[in-house]
Each structure stands twice: as structure tokens, then as C-alpha cells.
Amino acid sequence: VASLPLLSTGVARRISATPRNPEVIRDRAPGEASCVAAMALADRATVSCVGEPRPGDRVFVDRLRAGDDSALAALYDQHADVVFGIARRVIGDAQSAREITQEVFAHLWQHPERVDLERGSLRTYLAVMAHHRAVDEVRRVVRRNQAETRSGRSDPVLDDGHDAAVLDHAHRAWRGERVARAIEQLSSDQRVAVTLAYFEGFTYVEVARRLGIPEGTAKSRLRLALARLRVLLTDDMEALA
């Protein structure tokens, strides 16, 4: 060794592929009630709470912070199914689901410091982010359609097939016979609150304002409605079985 290069710095390089490693979802002790709610819907081994961080989650976040792109690739391999799946189900359009999947993982890469593992696992974080962004997209399209309708366009012209698909899915999803019947079985107060929150895309604060009730009442009304719907739909499923 002629001279020790104690002057230079290292460089990071390209992505290295990591074998797919499907996640085993585990129950989370503090959220037992949520687990029960989820498990009541489907008695499947793959469906349960995902709150507790996996032992490797902390290391993955550290690696993302440090700029290790192979960690991002590994996380994609582990969690893209739930991110893409949620986006596609909510929006009903594969192209939009692709975009949301890209957005979710790009956001994770850009801002790993925003992951709070005290609040749940990385998978939970990604699933919630995917859902938020998908719902935003649906609401954006629905509101635009409503605005166009109010402005006198009885037959709104959609930009492309993507928007049409989004609306079609949103409407189709809520015209389901059994869901509609379950909603009909709610009390009128609950039904109005749920309808405003979902069909109209209002936040519960906006729901409270429109109904002239306190925000806390709106929140509890939505929760009670949700709990009631869960019972009704679960009963319905059991009847089907």
C-alpha cells in the first residue's frame, strides 16, 4: 500500500434485487378489538391485524434513511400486494392503482422519517397511506363530477376511461343489494351520517355542520353506524353460508 486514501468517500450504487418474502401478518396485542372486527369478516389465516412492527421494520426504516435503495426494493417485494390491492379495490382501476402504488413507495423513500413505528408496522403504514390516497382520488373524481352536474351539465363529459371507471366502481360498489339493505336497517340518523360521509365524501366535521350536531356526536354516530353495519353484514354472510 503506497498511500492510504484517507481522503475519499464511498459511493452508493444501484438497486440489488431481493427475493420475494411474503409477509406473515401477526396479531397486535393492543389492538385486539380491531383484530376481532377484522376476523369477524373473514375467517382466513391471512387476515388479521398488522399493527405490531416486525423485528426488521426498524432496520428497514434506518436503511431507507441512510439511502439504501435495496431496502426499498425489499419493502416493495414484501408489501406491494397490499398497497396495490387496496388502491385497485378502492378505485377500481388498475392504471390508477399503479400510480398510487408508485406514489406510496416513492413517498416512503423520500420521507422515511415520517414512519412512526410506535403507531404500527410498516405494512400498516403503507396500507393506510395507500387507502388515504385512493380515497382522495375517488373523492376528487366524485366531487368534480358533482361540480359539473351542479353547473348544469346533466351528462358530464369525463376526461377519459379512467375517470369513468372510477365513478362506475364507486357507484357499483354502493348499489350492492345487501349493503344497501344493511344501510336501510340503520337508524335514520345513522343512515344520513353514513350517506353524507361516504356518498358525499364529507369529513365527519362537515357531517356535523350539515346536520347541526356536535362533532363528537357525528363521530360517535358514524362509529355506531359502522359497528351496526358490521353486525348486519356479518349476519348476512353467515346466512349466505
Binding site: L4, A12, R13, R65, G67, R98, T101, T124, G176
Partner: protein, 334 residues
């Protein structure tokens, strides 16, 4: 509507209602409620889980890397200059030494030099040699100072019966002389530090590692808090160590031509480095990834932790990782 469709309907309803409630700023949920809701939402989302298109992976990773370059740590901190790092290491150790009392001086702090008082005397000897290396004193015979420990035996004997606090101040004054002389010297001027060919800047970096190591030794021996590194110093030490790691591997005689290790340094001033395991070659696709803390990797380089002691996550060729970690301390001269 089949059963799956019904489940999906329910999942969407639940997800949206949860989302609606959670998004309020006016009446936020408690932390526990929020966590429970997120947990429920994510669990329900599992119902919708679906295999993504195969080409989406590459598109997604490409999109992400367009927004933030690979290897760019979000915790990046500009490294300080080597001379400033050395000065801070001197001040940190001086502060510790000033806090020591009677029995502390006779605590065994080093396997070769012995007690704390002898370690401090050893440092006086080293600073004197450094003054020669940076041109502030007449040159020393390279053979006479080739061995780090042996070259300070005279100093250790000289101060054996001197009040330790006097020795501390002697060391501190000499170290400050080294700092001043280094600031005046050309940073790229060549230096043969014992058996390591480097330059003034590299010498100061080596000394920073050494002072950090002896601070660690004395802190452990006297039950004081272990030393910490401020982010600019940690950034300097870890990044320069990573840059020199291929040569450390060569010094250790464990080169692995064609192989590359990715070292992910976590914590403040962390970073991600692809290190070729042969200094004659460039980095390729990593064969192994080692994730470890920045302070730990510096202690490993200073040989104050062994590869088995550090907390590291290893993915890939574990044997290769062992070679890399074992070579990391090749520059340490104790």
C-alpha cells in the same frame, strides 16, 4: 354479490368511515384510538391484497429514485475538517481527564499500556512525535517510531511518578501545539505515521480515532459515560473510513476481487456505501449488505469493539461480511 364481494364492500365501507373520522383536525382521536383505527383499516385492507403487475416493480423503484438519489442519507451532515475533529476529540478527552480523582488514575485502562496515568503519558509521547510529523519539531527517525506503543515507552517512564493532573495538562498543551502546527501545515503534505503512509490530514483523522479510542478505554475503566461523537465528526470519521475500507482489507490481506459489500451506516450522519473488496477495482453489485450504527463502526475501526460485539444486520454472504468487519480495524495502532 358473492361472499368475497360482500367482504370487499364491508372493507371499503369500514376503511372509509375510519378514514373520515381520523382525518378530523377539529376533534382528533386519541393516540390509542388512532392506532386502533389504522390497525383495523390496514387489516381490512388485507382483504384487498392483490399481486401487482410484474412491470410495476421497476417503474416504482425508478420513480422513487428519481425523487431521491440512492445513497443520499436524509440524515446527512457535512463532515467537519480533520483538524477540527482532532481538536474536539482533544477537548472531550481533556474534560474527562480533569474529572478524574485519586483511584481513577490507577485503574487499568489498556491491555498494553496499563493504568490511566500511563495511557495519558503514552499520549504525551505520541503528541511529541506528531509535532515532528507535522513539521513543528525536527524529524524523527522513522525506524525509532515505527511501532506505536514502543515509541512512547520513554514518555510513560518519564511521567511514572508525576502528578497525573500535571501530565494531563502537559498532554493537553502538546496536543494544542499539534493542532496549531497542523493548521499551518499543508494538509496534503506526506506523513509516515508509524508504518502507515498518509498525509497531515490523514494523520489528524487517525489521531481523532485514537483519542476517541483512549477516551473510550478510560471511560470504561473509571465508570464514566462512554464518549459520543457529534454528527459532523461522526460524518467525517465514518465516511472517510468507508472510503479507505478497501485499503484496510488490502492491509489485512483479505481482498476479495470482484466482490462488493454494501455498508449501511445508521444513525446521525449515517450513509450508504458500496465498498469494493479489492482497492484495485470499482464497486459492483453488492454481495452482502451490512447495516450497523455509525458509532459502532467507528469503535470497530478503533478496535474497541470486535465484529462479534457490534449490532449489525447482515444480508447476503455472511462470510464475506465477517472478512469486511474483521478488516475494519486495520488502521488502528492502539
Amino acid at each position: 354479490m358473492d361472499e368475497n364481494e360482500l367482504e370487499t364492500q364491508w372493507a371499503l365501507l369500514a376503511l372509509d368511515a375510519l378514514d373520515t373520522v381520523e382525518r378530523s383536525d377539529a376533534n382528533p382521536l386519541s393516540n390509542d384510538e388512532s392506532i386502533d383505527m389504522q390497525c383495523a383499516a390496514a387489516a381490512l385492507g388485507e382483504l384487498a391484497s392483490a399481486e401487482p403487475p410484474t412491470d410495476l416493480r421497476a417503474d416504482t423503484l425508478h420513480e422513487a429514485l428519481d425523487r431521491r438519489q440512492a445513497g443520499a442519507s436524509i440524515d446527512a451532515v457535512a463532515p467537519c475538517a480533520s483538524v477540527d475533529a482532532y481538536r474536539r476529540a482533544v477537548d472531550d478527552l481533556h474534560e474527562l481527564l480533569q474529572s478524574l480523582t485519586g483511584p481513577d488514575w490507577d485503574a487499568v485502562a489498556h491491555h498494553e499500556y496499563g493504568t490511566v496515568r500511563r495511557v495519558v503519558a503514552h499520549l504525551v509521547g505520541i503528541e511529541r512525535i506528531c509535532l515532528s510529523w507535522v513539521g513543528a519539531r525536527p524529524a524523527v527517525d522513522a525506524d525509532a517510531v515505527a511501532d506505536h506503543g514502543a515509541s512512547t515507552l520513554a514518555a510513560m517512564d518519564e511521567f511514572e511518578h508525576v502528578d497525573p493532573l500535571v501530565v494531563v495538562e502537559k498532554w493537553y498543551a502538546t496536543a494544542r501545539e499539534v493542532e496549531e502546527a497542523s493548521r499551518s501545515a499543508e494538509s496534503t503534505a506526506p506523513v509516515l505515521a508509524h508504518d502507515l503512509p498518509t498525509n497531515v490530514d490523514g494523520l489528524l483523522l487517525l489521531r481523532t480515532f485514537e483519542l476517541f479510542a483512549h477516551h473510550f478505554d478510560i471511560a470504561v475503566a473509571t465508570g464514566r459515560p462512554r464518549p459520543t461523537l457529534d454528527p459532523p465528526r461522526l460524518s467525517l470519521m465514518s465516511s472517510r473510513l468507508m472510503g479507505a475500507l478497501p485499503f484496510a482489507i488490502a492491509l489485512s490481506g483479505t481482498t476479495a476481487p470482484g466482490r462488493t459489500a454494501r455498508i449501511v451506516v445508521t444513525g446521525p450522519a449515517g450513509g450508504c456505501y458500496d465498498v469494493p473488496l479489492d482497492p484495485a477495482q470499482g464497486a459492483g453489485t453488492p454481495d452482502v449488505t451490512v447495516v450497523t450504527d455509525g458509532t459502532d463502526i467507528c469503535l470497530l475501526a478503533a478496535r474497541r469493539l470486535s465484529p462479534d460485539d457490534i449490532e449489525a444486520t447482515i444480508e447476503g454472504d455472511g462470510q464475506l461480511a465477517g472478512l469486511v468487519l474483521a478488516a475494519t480495524g486495520a488502521f488502528a495502532r492502539d
